[in-house]
Amino acid sequence: MQRIGVFVCHCGSNIAATVDVSKVAEMALMEPGVVHAEDYQYMCSEAGQAKIAAAIQEKGLTGIVVCSCSPRMHETTFRKAAERAGLNPYMVEIANIREHCSWIHKDMEEATKKAVILMRAAVAKVNLNTPLQAGESRVTKRALVIGGGIAGIQTALDIADAGYEVDIVEKTPSIGGRMSQLDKTFPTLDCSACILTPKMVEASAHEKITIYTYSEVEKVSGFVGDFTVDIRKKARSVDMNKCTGCGVCQEKCPSKKAPSEFNRGLNTRSAIYTPFAQAIPNVPVIDREACIKFKTGKCGICSKVCQAGAIDYEQKDEIITEKYGAIVVATGFDTINLEKYDEYAYSQSKDVITSLELERVMNAAGPTHGHLERLSDGKAPKEIVFIQCVGSRCADDRGKPYCSKICCMYTAKHAMLIRDKYPDVNVTVFYIDVRTPGKNFDEFYRRAVEQYGVNYIKGQVGKVIPQPDGKLLVQGSDLLDNRQILKEADMVVLATAIEPNPDVRKIATMLTASIDTNNFLTEAHAKLRPVESPTAGIFLSGVCQGPKDIPETVAQAGAAAVKAIGLLAKDKLMTNPCTAQADILLCNGCSTCENVCPYGAITYEDKEVNDHGIRETRRVAVVNNALCQGCGACTVACPSGAMDLQGFSNRQILAEVDAICR
């Protein structure tokens, strides 16, 4: 029989205002096994924890139930407190009487009754708890960063500077990411390339950093501290060791019709290409879909003109397998497809563009060499209309329910830059709300209005109507003046919603990292653990976790690096002891459990068993505790009940069920 102590937390008034905490403690004493019960203001405080420790020692407690907030909040706190007092930490259970009770119920009697039942369930479970020992596993002192944009680069630099090896895997031929496509950055209007390029160079030159560009993560196995990752290095068709980056091949390549990804398809590039001039590595790749040699077998001009003899048409994809202790996801974002928003005539007029396309138009290396001109006829625009929230804040399935966060600021930036460089161009912004929380952000927006005379109109646009003469008629509303506006414009710029890179779903699945309904990676705690995934050893950097601008991204990248460093600095990790265990006397050896284990943690061995005097060799399941993550799929698949989960055993859960239904 256990000797159980029940500790009921008031959580100030968070619990005590709705739940009669002393009643819960009183009722606890009537439960089997309970020898001690008390309530206290803040159980998680030092004084509260001291009470637990004192009771363990004085009353010889073998099990603890804390009735408090969610176990997701303080389970670890109380386990540690118990451990310090000499109790096995897994003898602690939490009854969640805050999130699941006091905060959602109003009636004190009802809430107290429920709290008592939740306490009973936890007591019933603890009665069946057994001490568990966490195992140890080693930590590979190397980190993987998936994505080579500003988030990935910054994380890699920070980890590498702490002395650990880091690999960056980047899908495209160069690191740099979205930031390399931007012209200027708010709110200081620095040139994006001028601040990014040095970081790219630093990363590529760093002795602790290895960069795999034109590469993708193919397979991930293992667990925190000991991941094994297959990286597919796609065939570049160019030998990275021989290429000098002279660029002659790109110049001479006769196939120049492929849309330039870097310029958002606004112009074309050659089949052998580096995405942009400052690309790192400065080694081109051959786009085999576009290359004449690959399509017809004839051509080979690049090979002929390459003095270094670096062109290699025979090159094949290569799989690199590497071990890592920590993985940082920094997969970034893209703009949403505007197919479903054709009231803005994006697919009907070349002069309706996204803001990211405008970045390229305004950039000296862009399709118009930095001249602001209409893409349809090259004419200089006189009237530009910006439309905000295109696809953001949408409750229907056309767009995204969230605010993309960066659009208000970059639109102010665009408006300001245009007015600055082309004072004769009128700029109108249709907005729903202007959101500028951030250091110097509102001041920046006000400058656009006050100093640069940008015309902000509160109201959405209903339709963009292309005119026969090539102009665009913008039909919008001005809610403050209560009128419908018809405005003739030469260009329309859409502040298109951003969404996580579509690849992130695949990557999250490989990492078993959770993802929310919008495909953003979920953080372990929205406030307190914002850069960690709930999956141990996986960290989040940049927009893959939620919309954010460059300063925020860099800050989060640093934070993710610190968390990764904290992990890599350890030599050993304690493993979760709540793993599956097979009772070899009950095991049929049928392999059903093996078939549902997502971690390959179950194998079958022939083992000598002594079944009530019968000695025989049987095929039985064996769980590798280092691989098992404790999901429990095997326990239900097993028909004989031989497989059980420590910490969530069949009998423990049934005891909870019984207590609740009593």
């Binding site: 009231e343 929230c389 804040r393 949408c394 409750a395 229907d396 056309r398 767009g399 729903i432 509160k458 109201g459 959405q460 646009v461 209903g462 339709k463 039909q475 919008g476 509303s477 001005d478 809610l479 209560n482 419908q484 506006i485």
Partner: protein, 129 residues
Amino acid sequence: MSSEKKQAEMIKEISGVNPLKCMKCGKCSATCPSYNEMDIKPHQFVSYVINEDIESLVNSKSLWKCLSCFACVERCPRDVKPGKLIDAARQVVVRQRSQDYLKADEIPELLDPELPQQLLVSAFRRYRR
């Protein structure tokens, strides 16, 4: 419940619209082809229902100027669909017998030889009980 409140509830019920979902972006008003003919603008319908000012709503010219073209319904980003509110308000009016917007005796002069059947049918349905 006051009669205004009742009517507001009825409009919400018939239309199936939750006006609280509106974020006041004005896309409906930006979209509406009849905007200039309306005294209460499409985006304002939402606040009239929220504020339970149904009196003004049912006396509004806008009820009869709405084309039922569903453009606002299609483009509303918040799933509010002001066109449905307008239609529900119109229902509230025409369901009261004497309030028919189309009087029987005014029909003959509105007719012309090519007038398709459906125009008459739909007018009856829109304007009369």
